[in-house]
């Protein structure tokens, strides 16, 4: 029956009773570190995970770097200055054991997942679920055909245990600990995240999905993801992030490294909806070798401050990179997001499309870099940024940087800032839609080039989130 409906019909056939954000019934943790960050805590995290010595050393080195590195001076330094690193739990373990079957997952956590609709999603067409509950992956399953194809899809902790050599060879090679203060922090205290390895020539037909969720007050979440696509392979990885609202500030600082070997194709989709007090400071970077293709599809809603600039290093000839991102900033929020494309090789191409909406005094910034190194001739790059302002108090800025050290390149750049048109609103309201409904419809339309790239259930979720954000009643 459902199959007979078109995607468009399903997408807009959403019930109105959707509500986000909740607390767990009981606060039942197997382990919770004290607040603050010391060598002892880092060592304890590593020991609890039974990590090899090299990882402990890596963590401790990263901690030193973190403590020495100054805060970024760009983005929103005022908001960054408010982060109290001493007031954060760097490690929380929800249960001792990882569940592999749904039945093994503890009841309280199941309820959480039920609210997120994960079991249904899984029953339908999940390839594998790795759902991060607090700092540890507690539920994880891989469908048999994936295993048959030889695809590895694990949480990062298990990845390290079971595939130590692959991890050691690639971990931190795309984003070194010293890259920036927050990558250093993540490298010191990382926990969870996903490890994906796709063998040569294997196409993973179904998106790999992961859900992340912060559920403890004052808890940092530092997941670490590493995806390696061997030559000629394809994988689509999706993460959805949501967080309930808490009164004091939480920190989310992930590191995501993608490696697309020659001719491989990686698509990485994120829908994040952190609660309005989360600092979301994420480093995402991909390496695309010859003829490889990498796409970041990145949706940023919620959080207090997001600073995130997915980047692609186009290392080999004919590599192609795309970043398609949306950002929504409401009251008290700043979405400082963008993209970086670095062309090291000839015949490489890149596309950046950024769409942002600011409302109720919210602020969005596009911060982008297109860099072309000498010798990288016949490069093509296009950048398009559209900002939509919902009212007079809201703000949008663009900081596009172009560093082009080669003559034979084609670079296009377009930027627009517009307001929700009175005539569009009037047209929709003259058909009986309330002002809120009309506005939401216009906003959904504005984001449609992004939404249409998402699998249906994520598109539905995004539209609902936008509707909630338009009402200003998230939480």
């Amino acid at each position: 029956m459902v199959a007979e409906l078109t995607r468009d019909e399903m997408l807009h056939n959403v019930k109105a009773d959707y509500k986000y954000g909740f607390h767990m019934g009981e606060e039942d943790y197997a382990f919770k570190s004290g607040k603050g960050l010391t060598r002892e805590i880092v060592t304890q995290i590593s020991k609890m995970k039974n990590e090899p010595e090299w990882m402990l050393k890596y963590r401790l080195k990263a901690l030193e770097i973190f403590l020495k590195k100054p805060m970024p001076t760009w983005g929103n330094s005022q908001m960054l200055g408010d982060i109290d690193f001493e007031n954060i739990h760097y490690f929380v373990r929800a249960t001792e054991k990882q569940g592999r079957d749904w039945e093994d997952v503890p009841e309280g956590i199941k309820k959480t997942f039920d609210r997120l609709g994960i079991p249904e999603a899984e029953r339908k067409f999940l390839a594998g679920v790795t759902a991060q509950y607090e700092s540890e992956v507690v539920y994880h399953s891989i469908r048999e055909d994936l295993e048959k194809q030889g695809v590895v899809f694990l949480d990062m902790d298990s990845g390290l245990r079971e595939h130590e050599e692959i991890v050691r060879k690639h971990f931190g090679t795309v984003i070194p600990a010293a890259d920036n203060k927050f990558s250093a922090l993540n490298s010191a205290v990382w926990s969870g995240g996903s490890f994906v390895w796709v063998p040569e020539g294997v196409k993973v037909e179904i998106p790999l999905q992961a859900y992340f969720r912060i559920n403890t007050e004052n808890m940092g979440q530092f997941e670490r993801t590493l995806i390696i696509a061997e030559p000629g392979s394809y994988v689509h990885y999706i993460e959805g992030c949501t967080a309930p609202t808490y009164s004091s500030d939480s920190l989310h600082s992930a590191v995501v490294e993608l490696i697309a070997k020659p001719g491989a194709h990686i698509r990485y989709t994120t829908i994040q909806n952190w609660s309005n007090n989360v600092y979301n400071l994420v480093t995402k970077r991909a390496v695309a070798e010859a003829g490889a293709k990498v796409e970041w599809v990145d949706g940023n809603l919620g959080s207090k401050l997001t600073m995130k600039y997915p980047s692609i290093y186009l290392m080999g000839p004919k590599a192609h990179g795309e970043v398609l991102s949306i950002a929504f900033a409401g009251e008290g929020q700043h979405q400082d997001a963008g993209a970086k494309m670095v062309h090291f090789a000839p015949d490489t191409s890149s596309i950046i499309v950024s769409k942002s909406i600011s409302k109720d005094g919210g602020r969005t910034s596009y911060r982008g870099l297109v860099k072309v190194y000498p010798g990288a001739d016949n490069v093509k790059s296009s950048v398009k940024c559209d900002a939509l302002l919902m009212d007079e108090e809201s703000r949008s800025d663009t900081y596009p940087t172009m560093e082009i050290d080669e003559k034979d390149v084609t670079i296009e750049h377009e930027a627009s800032v517009s307001k929700v048109g009175e005539d569009q609103l009037f047209y929709l309201m003259s058909r009986g839609l309330t002002q809120d409904e009309a506005t939401t419809m216009i906003v959904n339309g504005f984001f449609e080039p992004f939404t249409k790239e998402l699998p249906l259930e994520y598109a539905v979720e995004l539209n609902r989130l936008i509707a909630l954000n338009m009402e200003g009643s998230v939480g």
């Binding site: 007979e4 409906l5 078109t6 468009d8 019909e9 997408l11 807009h12 056939n13 048109g421 009175e422 005539d423 569009q424 009037f426 047209y427 929709l428 309201m429 003259s430 058909r431 009986g432 839609l433 309330t434 002002q435 409904e437 009309a438 419809m441 216009i442 959904n444 339309g445 504005f446 984001f447 449609e448 080039p449």
Partner: protein, 256 residues
């Protein structure tokens, strides 16, 4: 004719950006009636239609409008629409990224105040589209985005067919239509007209009125309705132009 008119406009004065455009419009429309409103470019026809629909730029400075006895001007645009007012726009607005099918379903849901099951709605929609010669592919296109002039007008009529208004204002729905489209659209309009609703057709051309024959024809000039008559008035205008009305008014001294 029922006791309460559907629409009752009294001495309506309207300003746009501080400039008075409507200068005392009077008009009564009863259920079952079809009215035509004609007049030169810039005489204030669209201003009247926007005002009746509640566009925020059009400020009523004097006068009253009653809709089925209720103060229309006190209602918001969306309330007017849900109560059965409808405006087919002279220049329909594009809503990029919003599919026609999603748009139509949302508006129908708003107007009927019930959620219609997707498939039921689709059936109804396909029937209405077939009658108006709207192609299926339109459903997945974005509302009025890149539509030709005639396509936009057809979509306006399709919406009217689905929303089933009680008082429909059609602002030059006939312009931009080719001859076949004009006939289809006119047939669509006729199919919708019944004894319980009413239509106000704003038009420049007799050819539309050949299909949809109005019982009442009004001429607007400089923000007022200066002459009203039956369908013969439209024919006279077609033959003689508006100068004839202007001259007649000047000689009778009934207007400025």
């Amino acid at each position: 004719m029922s006791a309460t008119p559907i629409l009752e406009i009294k001495d309506l004065h309207v300003e746009v950006e501080g400039k008075e455009i409507l200068k005392g419009v009077n008009l009564v429309v009863n259920a079952g009636e079809v009215h035509a409103l004609m007049g030169r470019n810039g005489s204030g026809k669209s201003t009247l239609s926007y005002t009746l629909m509640g566009h925020p730029r059009y400020v009523v400075t004097k006068g009253s409008v009653k809709y089925r006895g209720e103060d229309l001007l006190a209602l918001s645009t969306d309330e007017r629409a849900r109560k059965g007012m409808y405006l087919a726009f002279q220049y329909p607005v594009a809503i990029p990224g919003v599919s026609v099918s999603n748009f139509l379903r949302s508006t129908v849901k708003a107007r009927r105040a019930v959620d219609i099951p997707v498939k039921e709605f689709r059936k109804e929609l396909k029937e209405a589209m077939a009658k108006l010669g709207v192609k299926d592919e339109f459903l997945s296109r974005y509302v009025n985005d890149g539509f030709s002039g005639g396509e936009k007008k057809r979509l306006e009529i399709l919406q009217m067919a689905l929303l089933k208004p009680e008082m429909a204002l059609l602002d030059e729905t006939d312009s931009g239509l080719d001859i076949d489209a004009l006939r289809t659209v006119a047939e669509g309009i006729n199919a919708l007209a019944n004894k319980d609703n009413a239509l106000l057709l704003i038009t420049h051309y007799q050819r539309m009125l050949d299909y949809v024959s109005p019982g009442f024809v009004h001429v607007m000039q400089a923000g007022q309705i200066v002459k009203s008559g039956g369908s013969e008035l439209a024919k006279e205008l077609e033959a003689q132009g508006y100068d004839w009305v202007t001259k007649e008014l000047a000689s009778s001294g009934s207007s400025k």
